[in-house]
Each structure stands twice: as structure tokens, then as C-alpha cells.
Subunit: 262 residues, 2 copies
């Protein structure tokens, strides 16, 4: 099946990125501030750039008709109607502080929506990979099928986000905080790994804003094939990023939207 | 040397706790809310209780004259002037959400101050252990000597805390946020592992409040023997917990205190 070829190729892309990234982790490395002059420190490292180069080189050689959209090197137009949407190190702040909530994100987008998603954590050697046929976690402990847990209401929900104020404007902060105060528990510092925890059934809601397409497209198949739902804060598709809410249970999603839809 | 015996025994305590805890991680387990009726959800699990029982049983058998102070089962008076101060799972919220920032904390307190500290992460199989002779990280990659990094000012500092508002009252939140806005970068969700990242030289400041003695005593030798400093928000000893600031560099510590000493 074509999708099996795509899965095998996505695994090779993630392998290649992981090989590049691992030696940089927890080393003293150069960090460049992409946001210099802007409000927020926006770090990028050699690991980000070299990993995206490795991924792009493989795609250009083996899938020359496919397009590429990557965080560090932008858009490469293809002719196949298929685009690989990639973030080599999503969560660079986690990466440079020695934490492991970062990951390599790889989506295959066909006709505008992601049909395959990979979240790879090369240091923990955990790989989340999903298509419409299912979502799986591959790790040292083997392969397990992912599934979200039931969560009927916001009051029962564990909520995650990366940061309480960096990525939210003032009205978003207020909406988020109202939701948080109704939830059972809120954890910050999640980065892309928060979506993995949701797919595993340990987190019920992930709420973020200011995402780019490469921050979210790989995560959508993982959450959806685990039984969850990912939309913007109005319940619409969020392939382009922006304000995003992921939920493991449609009931918690509907209830949380009431806090966010404003 | 007596301290070598103590280190060997502390390693056995951590081994015993890890054996108990590992099977509970990322399983569907019962969670009891210790804070029922209070403002904040305060979870405790069988992992917390069984691990502390294992540690206490070993101490009572092999060090019958030593005292014990543990999060789950309180104080056991000894006659030796030495007290084992333990938190079997520090970071239960991380634990129940499938994250790895939790750890087993074991301090040996002699004459009122901790002389030996262990932070053990049994799932990642990382163990931080320190005495006045030095701080070390044992992991699959071997044994490395820990050392904090230079950080001359708050503007260069990476700041960590567990949560932006759960553990801070209103004035503490304001002080923390003013400090955070001056720092290069703030990461939340650290739990005890944040102090390990500081000892490794990837984080410069950890600021927390409402700590108990067992939340901090094990971490003090780890930070100090790595070249850092741990005090309360007025620069005084913090063996009893409360408001705590850890810094990798005395200059960043002094500068950060100005935001917190209020």
C-alpha cells in the first residue's frame, strides 16, 4: 500500500533527524536568537538547521515531486500535491534547557490536510506515528496502540500548555486562565510532547496559540487516530496553526470551547 | 569512611524506591486527593505510599538509631542525631500525567542541615547524588561530575518553576513575574528535576514557594556541591522549605533576590 511506503519513508526521515540531533543534546552549543529585536527570545541551534537539512535532502532525493514546508528553510514547491510539513526540533526552549519535551515533527499533507504524522523524541527513543489506520507509540518497550481516555467534563480534565503567558495575548490569557481554574489540574512546559501524553491517555486537554503549520500538522493525525479531536478555539480546522485545542474526549472539547470561543 | 557507607546506603534506598515505583508509572492507577475540601487538588498514589514504606523499612532495619521524616508517613524519632528526610515521589502531578520531572528525594540530615542528597529518576535511570565532596549524575551514559554554569545577571538567566500560580500567593506571583520578565527565558513544569538541570548547567535559577522540608533538603547538597547556592527569598537558609531560590551563580542569585526579597 502507498501509505505503508509513506510510513516507512517518514520513519527514515525521523531516523535521519534523530541521528543529527542527538549529539547536540545537553552539550554546550551555540544558540542564535531569531527573534532579536522582537519581544521574545526565539532560539535556534545548529541541531534545528542540520536536522532540517538532513530531512530536506532525503525528500528531494527520494520524493522529488513532493513539496516541503519547514520551520527553518521555508517552502519548496512540489508537483505531486503532497507536502512534507516539518519542524526539526519543535520545542527549542526545552531542548536548550536540557529537557525532553521537544520532538521532531513530520507531517505528510495531501490535498490540504495531514494524512500521516510523526512525533519523534530521539533522546528518549520514543516515536509516535499515526495515519487514519491508527496511532502507535514505538519505544524500547515495544509498540503500543495509542488511545485517549474518557473525560466527560472540564472539571475532570488535566490541561496542558507550554507557557502561561508567552504565547497568549491578554484576552487569550484570561480565557486560558478561566479554563485552567475549572480544570482538575494544569501542567505547563508541555511543548509537542503534551499531545503525545494526550494520545497516551494521561492528559485531557492541550490549549495553545500562535502555532505555525509545522507546529501542529504532524500532531493532528496522532490525536485523531487516538480517538481525540484537534481544532481551533472556535471548533474549526487548524491546519494552519494559530489558536489550537486538542482534546481526548469530544465532551471535554465541547465544554472547553465555551471558555475559549469568546 | 562513614560518608561512603552513607552514600552506599542512600543508593540502596533509592534502588528500593525505584523498584517499587517503576511498575506504577504510565499505568491506570488510583489517585487519592489528599487535599479534598481544600483549594487545590493534592494527589497521592500507591506509588508514593509503597515507596516510602520500602525506604522506611530499610532504614528501621539497618539504621535503627536514625530518625525519619517523610512526606507520606511523617516523623519517626531517632537517637543518633541523624535524620533521613524523604519524599518518595516528589512531583506527583508530573507522575500521574505521564511526565518524568518527578523524582525520589532522599536527604541525610546531620545536626540540622543536609550532608547528603539524592534525586533519583527511576524511569530515566538518572541519579543525582551529592555530598560535600562533589555532586555526580549516574546514568546509562556513565558517571559525570555536575557543575553549574556561569550566569552574571538576571537578563542572561534561564528561570524555572513548577507552576506560575498554584504555589504562589498574590504578592509572590507579582515578584516572580517581575523576575521572569527580566530573565532570558522562563520554563514551567520543572518539579524537582529543575534543580538537576541547574546542577547540570542548563538552568540558572529555580524559584519556588510553599515547599516542605522533604521537597528541598535532598536538593541542597546537589546544588551546592555543583557550585550553586540555595536560600530562601531573603538569602537565609531554607532547610525547612517555604520560599526557595536556587542559583547556579552567586551573581545571578544576588540579583534575583532583589526581585524577591520585597
Amino acid at each position: 500500500m502507498a501509505i505503508d511506503d509513506d510510513i516507512a519513508f517518514a520513519n527514515r526521515l525521523a531516523d535521519a533527524a534523530g541521528e543529527v540531533i542527538r549529539p547536540y543534546f545537553r552539550r554546550k552549543i551555540d544558540i542564535v536568537d531569531k527573534g532579536r529585536g522582537e519581544a521574545m527570545f526565539d532560539p535556534v541551534t545548529e541541531a534545528d538547521k542540520r536536522a532540517e537539512e538532513a530531512i530536506r535532502a532525503l525528500i528531494k532525493r527520494e520524493r522529488p515531486d513532493d513539496g516541503i514546508l519547514g520551520e527553518e528553510y521555508g517552502e519548496h514547491e512540489g508537483s505531486s500535491g503532497r507536502v512534507w510539513v516539518i519542524d526539526p526540533v519543535d520545542g527549542t526552549r526545552a531542548f536548550i534547557t536540557g529537557q525532553t519535551q521537544w520532538g521532531t515533527l513530520i507531517a505528510l499533507n495531501e490535498g490540504g490536510s495531514p494524512v500521516l504524522g510523526v512525533l519523534d523524541q530521539p533522546v528518549l527513543r520514543e516515536r509516535f506515528i499515526a495515519t487514519a489506520a491508527g496511532a502507535f507509540l514505538h519505544s524500547a518497550e515495544g509498540k503500543i496502540r495509542l488511545g485517549t481516555r474518557a473525560c466527560a467534563s472540564v472539571a475532570e480534565a488535566v490541561l496542558m500548555s507550554t507557557h502561561p503567558w508567552n504565547y497568549f495575548d491578554e484576552s487569550e490569557q484570561l480565557a486560558f486562565r478561566a479554563l485552567s481554574q475549572t480544570c482538575l489540574l494544569t501542567r505547563f512546559g508541555g511543548d509537542c510532547y503534551a499531545y503525545g501524553l494526550l494520545a497516551m491517555g494521561f492528559v485531557d486537554l492541550v490549549v495553545e496559540a500562535r502555532l505555525k503549520p509545522w507546529d501542529i500538522q504532524a500532531l493532528i493525525p496522532i490525536v485523531e487516530a487516538s480517538g481525540g479531536v484537534v481544532t481551533d478555539w472556535r471548533g474549526q480546522p487548524c491546519f494552519e496553526g494559530g489558536r489550537v485545542i486538542a482534546a481526548g474526549d469530544k465532551r471535554a472539547h465541547a465544554a472547553a470551547l465555551k471558555f475559549l470561543a469568546g
